[in-house]
Symmetry: C2
Subunit: 296 residues, 2 copies
């Protein structure tokens, strides 16, 4: 029997994901804080709930895709939250990127209703959400992962069960640590190259295929050279995720000297009103220090 | 007419490069500080000089592949150095990784003998040197690059003329900035992942194909997980190159906060006798801080 899917959070990611669930043939009921975001789904015949509680009352599996830890908490446990009407045997799939520690607390609380939870943060951007090519990092019990697999396969391409509850969030934060460190390397390297008087395109061409190579170098360094700050992922969201990294690293007691530095640099950019720039605009923080800019 | 090639510096890289020049059919005369390093070339019928000056007297193009700025200076301008007997119209190709600033000074001095110089630092390791698949980053005049191309093509695969004199060295240092920042990201990410209780192999599998991906992640993170410290590139050499980065950044007045941090971390490992470990052993500096180690 096809499970009934509830979907909470129709942001830039959630829109595409919900459409892909619909395409895959799942019966769907959705809710979003801003109701107008549901319009394209309503046109496609999807039922819209008035509260998260109404979603939970009518669903077997509920996908949550909101921004931050407090948003997930509100959707789950706030007034008219999912928890109020959650049915025994329900499965909540949280695709938001939130605290791994809070994730464990939330999952534990759901057991009171004989419901289970998977943390399943995503990467791949709005394009990946629209095309159903997201990478999904899943934490939780194997039986739940197996049950959720048709749902994951409708939304994503690379689905990795990385461990128990919270592990998906931890791996998403691992992903972000790597992304921002690779970007800081790109920023230092580009400023150094320009100060040294070399042609930036040729420098990139000379190094990108070797040991210096990275996704950020190949995809974001050319954007920096063109001073194209359109976001694949915004500084505001990157900053939010790095805050989660710092909180978790604090909890774990593990050293992240460079990621901490990057958090500070992003924070200064955010304070200057650049939170809507792409995360490759990290280079601007160093440009401000350097007193000169790439290709300006 | 085939140009006569001199080769100075038969270290782990130079050996393979000289053999490839021989295979390509160039008449070859070699010199090395430690004469025994020339044995395999002597067996292959190569002429061995007693001094760099003797090499310069009999060569049209002289390839230099030694360790650091003072080594290049000694080979060029020391007693019995190349400079003493350098013939008008000779071309010196310096494949060492040295200071971009010193490179310009050296090239300028060679003009007194109507000789020219290319800086052509290499990457790709001893395997790339042996197989003739090095990446070569070339700085200097276009006419000299054109003249040197058959020599480069005998030794390397990706040959990029990145700019004027010194630009090859600057781009090599750009390469090193990227390599070490990507590695610090890997180190912070692995410790974070382990502290968060996730399976490291699965975490790597989940993130390496996406925006977090890098050559260092794909090639060195698995070595870290296996605690396999065999060097692709040693800490001693990495440290030497980062010292050049810091010197040049000082000269340029450009900010490299993270690379500076990494310099310090490598320096502490070197001081502890770990200079022969691969550069991925950077993670050990964070392990010492963390008080726990990856997979131990």
């Amino acid at each position: 029997m096809t499970e009934r899917i509830g979907f909470v959070g129709l942001g830039i990611m959630g829109q595409g994901m919900a459409h892909n669930l619909l395409k895959a043939g799942f019966p769907l009921i959705v809710w979003n804080r801003t109701a107008s975001k549901a319009e394209s789904l309503i046109k496609a015949g999807v039922q819209v709930a008035e509260t998260p509680a109404q979603v939970a009352a009518q669903s077997d599996i509920i996908v949550v895709c909101v921004s931050d830890t407090p948003d997930v908490e509100a959707v789950l446990f706030g007034d008219n939250g999912l928890y109020e009407t959650l049915r025994s045997g329900s499965l909540v799939i949280d695709c938001s990127t939130i605290s791994p520690v809070a994730t464990k607390e939330f999952a534990h609380k759901l057991t009171e209703k004989q419901a289970t939870m998977l943390d399943a943060p995503i990467s791949g951007g709005s394009e990946g959400a629209a095309n159903g090519t997201l990478s999904i990092m899943v934490g939780g019990a194997s039986a739940d992962v197996e049950r959720a697999m048709p749902v994951f396969e409708a939304m994503g391409k690379t689905i990795t069960h990385v461990g128990d509850c919270g592990a998906g969030q931890t791996v998403k934060l691992v992903n972000q640590i790597l992304v921002v460190n690779n970007m800081l390397g790109v920023a230092e390297a580009l400023l150094f190259a320009q100060a040294g008087g070399v042609n930036l395109e040729k420098a990139l061409q000379a190094v990108e295929a070797g040991a210096a190579g990275s996704w950020m170098l190949s995809n974001r360094a050319p954007q920096v050279v063109d001073r194209d700050w359109r976001p694949g992922f915004t500084i505001d969201l990157q900053q939010k995720d790095l805050r989660l990294v710092l909180e978790a690293a604090d909890k774990f007691g593990t050293p992240i000297p460079s990621t901490s530095l990057i958090f500070q640099l992003y924070r200064t950019l955010q304070k200057q009103g650049l939170g809507g720039d792409g995360n490759h605009a990290l280079v601007k923080a160093l440009e401000h220090v350097a007193g000169f800019a790439i290709n300006e």
